[in-house]
Amino acid sequence: MSNSGNTIKRSTGERIFRLGNHTFLTFLMIISFYPMLYVLFASFSDPWEIMKHRGLLFWPKGYSLASYKEVFKNRSIWTGLLTTVINLIGGTSINILLTLLGAYGLSRKGFLFRNTIMLGITFTMFFSGGMIPTFLVVKNLGLYDNRWSMILPTALSAWNLIILRTAMLQVPDSLEESALLDGANDFVILFRIMAPLVGATIAVLVLYYGVDHWNQWYQSLLYIQTRSKYPLQMIMREILVTNSQEQAVTTTETGTEPIQTTIKYATIMVGTVPILCVYPFLQRYFIKGVMVGAVKG
């Protein structure tokens, strides 16, 4: 506003557009975020009051921690959380190690089978054997109902491999050549020189793989039979979607019906808050990932 002399005067049409645009985007922000806020308020509400309540919520109705107590009393939530954390840490480590090895190898210029291997990997992005043949392979490998079946079948993502490979291709060849002359082998070059140089991209991939492991449920649906091996999302699926009867049994003392609903809300919060907490700090890395991905590999 200080240099109003320089700014071009907005026409009436532009002013109306601007007002409409800002209103619409504000509305969009509310729609994007309000459902989570509603769940948050409802989860801290008194179950009986929520049942009687009509309309929107702008604050918890009669503050109560009863739903969270019930959620944390549920042993499955804890075993599910443990499984998810194991998958997250173990799975992401394997993901990153394989992606590093693959991206480094396939970004070396000039070795004979590079393009063949690259083509073979890219092809899998567009064509797959299908759900049942993959299921049978998992079974044949003895991974059915085995915790590894939540990690190994998705040990590597071709898309992420291409993102990291693109980053590595941008590192000047001279670094590799001088390291070779100094007697370093490829493992030393990868972990001592290359990995630190593409650190920002690796951070992005850690986030992408990590979110995938946290949200994973479908692989467990296909490959895991024993309930005690279910990850958090599968337990949440029971509570939120298939309405397992177990909840009704564990909550007889507090009164079954009303708390069912608020338990759902508390469960959603437990499953979502960890991601929402890290999100603001890591947002720029997530976005960077999209940009890197946009550069065609």
């Binding site: 190898g105 070396r108 567009f126 064509f127 043949p133 493992f187 759902k264």
Partner: protein, 317 residues
Amino acid sequence: MHGGTVGGQTCSSSHRIWRALSKDYKRYKYVYLMLIPVIAYYILFHYWPMYGAQIAFRDFNIRKGIYRSAWVGFKHFRAYFSSYYFWRLIRNTLLINIYSVVFSFPAPIILALLINEVDFLPFKKAVQTVTYIPHFISIVVICGMLKDFLSLDGLINEVIALFGGTRTAFLMYPQYFRTVYIASGIWQSVGWGSILYLSALTGIDEQLYEAARIDGAGKWRQTIHVTLPGILPTVVIMLIMRLGRMMSVGSEKILLLYNTNTLETADVISTFVYRKGILETNYSYSSAVSLFNSVVNFIMLISVNRLSRSLTETSLW
């Protein structure tokens, strides 16, 4: 680096190949060592299943396993093509995709254009941060919230009642399923999808706008003549990838949302494959359905890519 080989002409061709291989091996032996686990992964979990897809042409027998079960040719494909479900699955899969191309595809482009017009930076940042959030919520939670909000006394019906409408149990009626599926999809991904287009928008040369303004173009004409052509290559690439998937709808969200009441409009090829294969253990039939679908998808991707290359000179490869 490439020292000319002495007496190269006298070498037999097999000798030359051998020498190239050994030179390659000498320099890249560790690289090959690194690639072993990567290649092993792709062979085990991608190419072995492709090889195993042959059970679509066999009658799978548990005792005999995939490779000893009897060949039956196209029996399962014929059964699928002539089944009652075939057209329903094709229709549902295609309709969800068509609605998605019509509504979900342009949504992030429009959002990016709108965000791009905001000149008050903190507001712009706030809109971006907030609209990206739903992308990170797991599909299980999204569907759990949908089930709750769309129930008779759920949030959405509360809002409808607030405006004097009648409450409807949306997820119990087949006629609402696609709307729910598409609308919730837009809600979840419109913000995240706009990132790509926003980055394309920032790549447009400011001088083009300058020139347009000098020529007397207003905001609207600038959008038509500078902004849209500027992001067109990105839009085309995204559209190719989208059209290449016209015959597939992921099963995850539908499995979580549908029920026997809505099967008529909600059942798509991938959910059918899941039910036939995993729940009914009809491995051969299920594999035939998904193999047919994979082949159709692959052909579509190639043709759309070729078409785009000749029409717009933009293509995936």
